[in-house]
């Protein structure tokens, strides 16, 4: 469909010098492939929608064209299990969600599972990601994750952490304390830069993202307070496509069972996050 004109790309990340885990060894599982709806099976490709600006889960390689990240590796592995070629296509959030079920078969883009979202989509849990605060190296302002009231904290718009901060802030004001000043940025990199620059004391993000950011800013940032309340993230499938949801669930489960999923995360330096059961629409 979209030719060279978009940043979509087939699973060719292994050619890139960028980090990735080679999933070419994952074989097709016929039983699971049989669960696929006919339309998808006949097509032969699994089109995966992802908002590729969230390192290290899904982002762009140096050529700005190739999607890479652990979600991308997972997508390819799922494709292999289902006997399909996985094709990761980029999409902004607003154009991603409505198109799952038509333009995209599934969405794998660090979507946190929440009850509201489950009302509007099928979600298959695959990873349990905590939240972390990152501060300037040495924590010069002595930021304490346990007393966040009155602090200026950066966060990426639309993340689970943004909601959390809003709740914390409400708690602060309810307790007669100062509210948190939340700076909500469209991109994680803006949040990161503003901590480096000193506008915000800390940023609050997925632990995976925070760790990766800290490692990429040449030691200018550090994680403080460790990994906090973890939340599950899920693969999104159209609400009305139970068949595909079940097939993807089975495929994900098989990757968990044979250890591939854990190896992918290891390759990206994200440990302890893998779930061992891929649950369809878990009660979060």
């Amino acid at each position: 469909t979209d030719s060279a004109s978009t940043a979509s790309d087939t699973a060719s990340a292994s050619d890139s010098t960028d980090l990735s885990y080679d999933v070419s060894g994952v074989a097709k599982v016929d039983d699971i492939a049989a669960m696929l709806p006919d339309a998808v099976a006949e097509k032969g490709t699994l089109v995966v929608g992802a908002s590729t600006d969230y390192a290290p889960a899904e982002f762009r390689a140096d050529d700005l064209n190739t999607a890479i990240g652990y979600d991308v590796d997972l997508a390819k592995a799922i494709g292999n299990v289902l006997g399909l070629e996985a094709e990761v296509q980029d999409g902004e959030f607003a154009s991603l969600i409505p198109a799952i079920g038509s333009k995209y078969d599934v969405g794998i883009s660090s979507f946190t599972i929440t009850p509201e979202r489950l009302e509007n989509a099928n979600m298959i849990s695959y990873i349990n990601v905590g939240s972390s605060y990152a501060v300037k190296a040495g924590n010069p302002q002595a930021f304490d994750p346990e007393s966040v009231c009155g602090q200026t904290i950066a966060v990426q718009t639309g993340t689970y952490q943004e909601e959390e901060l809003a709740t914390f802030s409400d708690d602060c004001t309810a307790a007669g304390d100062e509210a948190i000043e939340v700076l909500s940025y469209a991109r994680q990199s803006d949040a990161t830069t503003n901590v480096v620059g000193g506008k915000a004391v800390a940023f609050y993000a997925d632990s995976t993202v925070a760790g990766y950011a800290a490692s990429l800013t040449n030691g200018q940032l550090e994680i403080t307070g460790g990994i906090r309340d973890a939340a599950e993230q899920g693969i999104v499938v159209n609400k009305d496509d139970m068949e595909l949801a079940k097939a993807v669930q089975a495929a994900t489960q098989s990757l968990m069972d044979d250890g591939t999923w854990g190896k992918i995360l290891d390759a990206w330096g994200v440990e302890d996050a893998a779930l061992s059961t891929a649950e369809l629409n878990p009660k979060a």
């Binding site: 409505p98 509201e116 509007n120 469209a186 000193g198």
Partner: protein
Amino acid sequence: MSTRPPELIRARPVPRPSLWVAAAIVLVLVAMLVHGLLTNENYRWDVVGQYLFDPRVLSGVGWTLILTVAAMLLGIIMAVLTAVMRMGTNPVLRGVAWVYIWFFRGTPVYTQLVFWGLIGVLYPRLSLGIPFGPEFFVFNTYDVINATVAAILGLGLNEGAYLSEIVRSGLNSVDKGQWEASTALGMKRSTTLRRIIIPQAMRVIVPPTGNETISMLKTTSLVLAVPFSLELQFVTNAIGNKEFLPLPLLIVAGIWYLFITSILMVGQARLEAYYGKGFDDESPSKPAKGMSKRQQAILAAGTVKADPNLEVTP
């Protein structure tokens, strides 16, 4: 002399079948479009209805309006200032005005807003004093330029660059004879501007400014770059994000924008009628209702030449 004509001509108009064909085609297309809009379940009209009057959305509408008005006010001030500077004889001030317009028109407003948001990082302290000399007041930048101020500064200064040309063209549109008459009477440049030129230039300046306001309404959504996160588009995006329903919430925002724009367009049409009637055709037509005697007089005199009711991009 007869006062009323005996019998007005009442003739059948020329039949125009093409008109009816066109009408039929258009109606069918509109019907299809509306049908498609209502039945395509992607739009989730139930969700649209549910969120249209959500308090968060309403507060977003409010903030959008506040930003629009404040930024336009700042823009107008900058515009008048720089337009007068550019028309003046002082080459330094002319240069400054030119650079201002060049820079703010030349760079994306989004980028400008990012910088205004970061101003506290880039220049942590603002000081009032003699350059390279003693400082009298020193502020912590973030105390002065909070997100709201940054958003308004960013939008307003950008807008000022665009409005400046509108104001200049308005001032230029006033008949040169008006300048000469006041000069010949011994009036100073500043007096002439204030008392003679600007009152007449308003006719040309006000309508496109209405237009710019309509544009500004939608430009406000870029303040997420600051970040300022209370205006309409941000709020609806956030809700859509949270609920996995971006499309219906885009529609919610779209409806509000369309609604406010429609009101502004009515206002603009009124303004154009107020300032512009009687110019398009040279016949002495009836002045717009409610027009002041003064405005009617400017109009009828026709000393303002252009009628550049140009519309302007968002």
